[in-house]
């Protein structure tokens, strides 16, 4: 019997998902565990493996379409088998649109509160023709839109005069073409075609050609500069970090850590065939320091503070198209090698887009390490829901004064960003120094 394959609900919060890419096509033979498609959630792009075997009979949800979770993505079964009935996919209603749509209706109902006719109330009253409420700008008329198709213009920029609400009519478009100087603009046919494809406005394209003619190069430049929509993941980053910067009063504390003994130890271990990244030591040190400073392992909304009993350190991993933060759970309870293995696995998964939503949830503190990128110092933005983030810079051989002598040591700057609502400056300072001490004392770390 043919089986409907749903798009799994990959996290708790997703209501809608988008299949980024199909990895199989109709007619393909599918084995259990084969990757069917990639789904983009608001956290990451995930691969979905098949739980079923058979032939892929039909792809129901095409790539790129936003659909509700758990709707049927495809049908699998025996070749030639009849397809089961599939419910129509309803376009997911976004809350903002729904509330927008509801608002004028309510307003209209209120303003049109019926005068009560006690006599001769008509049993059958025809609705009055519904025009948009005067406040709302009328949409351009179908005729205007149809007419405008042949021109590189933005109808929203035209002032309408039609009907009672200023609908943009064909006449308005004609007037606009004349008054805006559109008609006097010159453009090569090839440039026009590309501009139309790219939905560019003619008036916004800078002309470089002979006699002010817009050339193909002009159009390409304009198309390049045209604002494009962010990917889902970038939108999420934008939203979260903006929230963080707007709502969390950050303060920053920087210390320099002498990493010489750790670097030495790493070298020695490497000779023994054991490979530890610098980050592993930092993660471990941070986890231990967090035990001492619980306010940095908390979350506040400005009214209440929530202490977290578990220390789950998130590790920022940079990807081509953004940033993800997989979480090492119970970090304080894990040994260096455990942390090393887990971080390596998570990072690998992250780079391949295979991270599960669960693996990115529940972090209590984040480390952002740019040590590999040759930076002297930087500050990070706190992940909302946490109280601090530690920015780790490159380890650089630096002349320092030690015991009254100038010596060259492997120095690394770490900068704590902390939420001032939950943490005070001195606390922050103590915390970074605690991390510093742990990193400089190799024995401490190895215990």
């Amino acid at each position: 019997m043919a089986t409907k394959i749903p798009i799994p609900k990959l996290g708790q919060s997703e209501e809608t998902v988008k299949i980024e890419k199909w990895r199989v096509k109709e007619g393909d033979t599918i084995k259990k565990g084969d990757i069917l498609f990639e789904v983009e959630t608001d956290k990451a792009v995930l691969e979905v493996e098949s739980q079923f075997e058979g032939t892929l009979l039909k792809i129901v949800v095409p790539a790129g379409k936003e659909v509700p979770v758990m709707c049927t993505a495809a049908v699998i079964g025996n070749p030639g088998e009849a397809l089961p009935a599939i419910d129509e996919i309803k376009a997911p209603a976004t809350k903002t649109e729904a509330s927008k749509a509801a608002a004028p209706t309510a307003a209209k109902t209120a303003s049109a509160a019926p005068k009560v006719e006690t006599q001769n109330a008509p049993a059958y009253k025809a609705p009055e023709p519904v025009f948009s409420t005067p406040a709302a700008k009328a949409k351009p008329s179908p005729r205007a839109r149809n007419f405008a198709k042949d021109y590189l213009i933005d109808l929203n920029k035209i002032t309408g005069t039609g009907g009672e609400n200023g609908r943009v009519t064909e006449k308005d478009v004609r007037n606009y073409l004349e008054s805006s100087g559109y008609l006097s603009k010159k453009i090569t046919p090839a440039a026009f075609n590309v501009a139309q494809k790219e939905k560019l406005e003619l008036l916004s394209i800078e002309a470089s050609g002979e006699n002010g003619r817009i050339t193909l190069a002009d159009v390409k430049a304009a198309a390049f500069e045209k604002p494009k929509e962010l990917s889902t993941i970038r939108k999420v980053i934008a939203k979260r970090l903006t929230t963080s910067k707007q709502q969390i009063p950050h303060f920053y504390v920087t210390v320099s850590v002498d990493m010489s003994s750790i670097m030495e130890m790493r070298k020695r271990l490497k000779e023994e065939g054991i490979n530890y990244s610098v980050n592993v030591f930092i993660i471990k040190a941070v986890a231990m320091a967090l035990k001492e400073f619980p306010s940095l392992n908390s979350e506040t909304d400005g009214n209440t503070i929530k202490n977290k009993s578990k220390i789950n350190v998130g590790v920022a991993v940079s990807l081509d198209n953004g940033l993800v933060v997989p979480v090492v759970r119970n970090t304080d309870k894990k040994a260096l090698d455990e942390i090393q293995d887990e971080v390596a696995e998570l990072a690998e998964k992250a780079r391949k887009g295979k991270l599960l939503p669960e693996e990115m949830k529940g972090g209590s503190f984040t480390i952002s390490n740019m040590g590999m990128l040759g930076v002297e110092n930087f500050v990070a933005i706190i992940n909302p829901g946490e109280s601090g983030i530690l920015a780790v810079s490159s380890t650089i051989p630096t002349p320092v004064v030690k015991d009254g002598q100038i010596v060259i040591r492997d120095m690394m700057k770490i900068t704590l960003s902390a939420d001032h609502r939950a943490v005070d400056g001195s606390e922050g300072a103590k915390f970074v120094n605690s991390v510093k001490i742990k990193l400089e004392d190799k024995n401490f770390l190895l215990t």
């Binding site: 025809a126 025009f131 179908p142 005729r143 149809n146 009907g163 064909e170």
Partner: protein, 764 residues
């Protein structure tokens, strides 16, 4: 013949009004005696028995089909009505056995028997040439073999229609309840109780007037239930009119029709006896319509010989010009109204047994054996022949093709048009001078006379065109449109009718089905609602329901009284209602020129036309050529060209729309006005082209706005021209209410010039 002047002298002398007696069940001959007296021969006896057997075999097939017991087509699942006439066979056979091929019948929803019998006996009367004309596929057969093949074809086409097959009599469009075969004078079974009675009456009108059809008789079958129905009683009154036989008659001949009340005692379940009527015999109805009781008799409808005898005597009366005749055929329906009817809820088993005891087939079979005409063996052979023939036909019907779904609305309208009048109808008999239509010095004629001129031209062209309605003859019509036409064309072609709107339209359908081209006048369009069954269920549907085997070229002229302060029942513009009924055409001229051109087209078109006239337009003048011209249906008129907005408007609203356009012109808004002239067919392309040009449209009429045809126009424009619209399409009509009497109210009720300019300004 002359004009009719009422000249009564009041005389209130005490007296007794006497009713003639009505005979019941007087036939008492035995078959043996009738054979001896040579009132019937052996061959006719066999024909009677065989005819009844064909019917019963057919009806029992339906019965068995429902239980899977009809072996030969056991697998076939019949869906459709099951109004069986088992028990009533003697009525159909007795009547049809003594009718000629060209004699006519109408029948009922329980009409399988009538249809079978009319065809069966007509075929038996056909010459070899006629048989071959009917079934050219049997050209190589002759004699009994040919007759047998054609009879089997008849059974086949009847069953095929019941099964909704393309080869059925109505190409599967009508089914058993609407079966008809015009080639043998079967004008149709009718699923509206009583609906066929005025049609039969109209057919009799044609037979009375058409010299070519003289001597034909119409036999109108209808049940006891129908004889409580208004249009049936209207028909009885219609048929009995003195003007057909009195000194004022031009053709002095009583209507050649036999009303056969097939009294099976149940109108669905309502009992004629002691429940839903107040009389013992339905034949008493006749006493109310004609002093001679319409020669009424009650006949035993279980005795085929008694029915046959009564019809033969009725035909004699009719041949003498003394029709109409009414016969009550007392019979019984063995099964319920349909097979889903649990008849034990309203009658006893004992009652059924008593009737089955005098079963028409069993008693006639016994009479045949008693008379010695045929032996038991011979009778059994007849029975087997009929059963085998029906079975073969049923098998063939099941296997025959279903209609193609793409043809779902094929046959709704006919394309045919009376381009050429048959020679015999070209000669028109005039009894006086044709009245002249007044033209002023500029050649202008008023709307009323433009219509009159159109009608008269058509009446001079074609003798089949007749005009009738209330007050149209001597008086010249309520609005004097037909003044002096009686004096020119005579009372056969211009005659008054009783105030019976349903019957006016129903008789027109019957006349049209039998070749005439009647113009029926309804004084006010509001009254068309009284005739809406005859216009909407009958006139509109018969071409389709019979698979295009008949045409109904009638014109129902009706005028709209709106704007005169006549109130709710004399002011309605109802054209939208009739435009909603598939099968009718609807025309509404807005000016004299169109009026003449359209009425002539309406008369020549072979489809039924609802022709709407505006009473307020009757005195509007316009140039109307004296010469003949026709305006094709479905061709809109661009009355005024414009570029900013299109008005689609018809009827009296056109004049207001013109004023509105003048007003708007002052504001620099240029209006294009399109008068569709006919709502069905509608000239969509002209309207679309205009809207594509202007980008804006208001549809205007005087119909009440809700449900008006203007809404259809808005919908079609929105679908076809959406991308060319600069504004929503609006409609303007009368208020959603009832036409008031008060001047102030009616002015507010009807759409005004301001309503039109306001609508236009909203869109600019």
């Amino acid at each position: 013949m002359g004009n009719y002047y009422s000249d009564l002298v009041p005389d209130f002398k005490a007296q007794e009004i006497k009713f003639e007696s009505i005979k019941a069940y007087h036939y008492n001959k035995s078959l043996k005696d009738e054979l001896k007296a040579k009132k019937i021969n052996k061959e006719e006896v066999q024909e009677l028995y065989e005819s009844m057997l064909v019917i019963r075999e057919f009806e029992e097939m339906i019965l068995k089909l429902r239980t899977g017991a009809y072996e030969i087509i056991k697998e076939y699942e019949y869906r459709g009505p099951t109004h069986l006439s088992i028990g009533q066979e003697a009525t159909a056979t007795g009547a049809c056995s003594v009718m000629n091929i060209t004699d006519l019948i109408t029948s009922t929803h329980r009409g399988h028997g009538d249809s079978m019998a009319k065809g069966y006996h007509a075929i038996r009367r056909m010459t070899e040439k006629e048989l071959k004309e009917r079934c050219p596929e049997f050209a190589d057969k002759k004699g009994d073999e040919l007759l047998e093949a054609v009879l089997e074809d008849h059974v086949y086409r009847t069953i095929a229609e019941l099964f909704g097959k393309e080869e059925g009599y109505g190409k599967g469009r009508g089914g058993g309840m609407h079966i008809a075969d015009f080639r043998v004078g079967h004008l149709g079974a009718n699923a509206i109780v009583g609906g066929g009675v005025p049609i039969a009456t109209g057919a009799a009108m044609t037979c009375r007037l058409d010299h070519d059809k003289k001597g034909r008789v119409v036999c109108c079958f209808a049940g006891d239930g129908a004889y409580a129905n208004g249009v049936v009683l209207e028909s009885l009154n219609w048929a009995s009119q003195d003007q057909f036989t009195s000194s004022m008659a031009e053709t002095n001949f009583g209507l050649p029709i036999i009303y056969c009340i097939v009294n099976n005692h149940f109108g669905m379940t309502g009992r004629a006896d002691g429940e839903v009527t107040g009389i013992d015999f339905l034949a008493r109805r006749a006493a109310g319509f004609k002093n001679n009781n319409m020669h009424a008799e009650v006949v035993c409808g279980m005795d085929v010989m008694a029915v046959r005898d009564a019809i033969l005597r009725a035909k004699k009366i009719i041949a003498e010009g003394k029709g109409p005749v009414l016969l009550e055929l007392d019979t019984y329906r063995y099964y319920g109204h349909s097979l889903s009817d649990p008849r034990n809820e309203y009658r006893t088993k004992e009652e059924e047994e008593r009737w089955k005891h005098i079963d028409p087939l069993i008693t006639f079979r016994q009479a045949i054996l008693d008379s010695g005409a045929f032996s038991e063996k011979e009778v059994a052979a007849i029975e087997k022949k009929v059963a085998d023939r029906n079975a073969r036909a049923a098998r063939r019907a099941v296997d025959s093709p279903d209609p193609d779904p793409v043809d779902v609305i094929k046959y709704m309208y006919t394309d045919s048009f009376c381009n050429e009048v048959p020679e015999k109808y070209k000669k028109v008999h005039l009894v006086g001078k044709v009245p002249e239509v007044k033209r002023d010095s500029e050649g202008r004629v008023n709307y009323r006379d433009a219509i009159k001129e159109g009608i008269m031209e058509e009446m001079l062209r074609d003798n089949r065109v007749v005009l009738y309605g209330e007050d149209v003859s001597d008086y010249g019509g309520a609005f004097k449109l037909s003044k002096n036409m009686l004096e020119a064309f005579g009372r056969d072609r211009v005659f008054n009718t009783p105030i019976s709107e349903a019957c006016i339209c129903g008789t027109a359908v019957g006349m049209a089905m039998t070749g005439y081209r009647p113009i029926a006048e309804l004084m006010y369009m509001d009254f068309a609602l009284m005739a809406s069954d005859q216009i909407s269920n009958q006139a509109a549907k018969w071409h389709y329901m019979t698979g295009a085997s008949t045409k109904v070229p009638i014109v129902v002229r009706c005028s709209v009284g709106g704007g005169k302060g006549y109130g709710g029942q004399h002011s309605q513009s109802l054209e939208s209602m009739f435009a909603h009924i598939p099968g009718t055409y609807v025309a509404y001229p807005s000016n004299p020129y169109d009026a003449k051109g359209l009425i002539k087209t309406a008369i020549r078109d072979d489809n039924p036309v609802v022709f709407v006239e505006g009473q307020l337009l009757y005195n509007v003048k316009g140039v109307v050529p004296k010469e003949e011209y026709l305006i094709p249906f479905g061709q809109a008129n661009i009355i005024r060209e414009g570029k900013d907005i299109t008005f689609v408007v018809w009827g009296p609203a056109v004049a207001d729309a013109m004023k509105a356009a003048d007003e708007l012109e002052k504001d620099g808004i240029s209006v294009e006005i399109i008068d569709p002239r006919t709502l069905v067919p509608f000239d969509w392309e002209t309207v679309f082209a205009s809207v594509r040009k202007t980008g804006r449209c208001v549809a205007i009429s005087q119909c009440v706005d809700i449900g008006s045809f203007t809404g259809e126009i808005v919908s079609q424009i929105t679908a076809a021209c959406f991308d060319q619209l600069d504004a929503p399409v609006l409609k303007v009509g009368a208020k959603n209410g009832i036409a008031p009497q008060a001047y102030t109210l009616e002015a507010a009720f009807l759409p005004s010039v301001k309503d039109m300019t306001d609508a236009a300004k909203k869109l600019i």
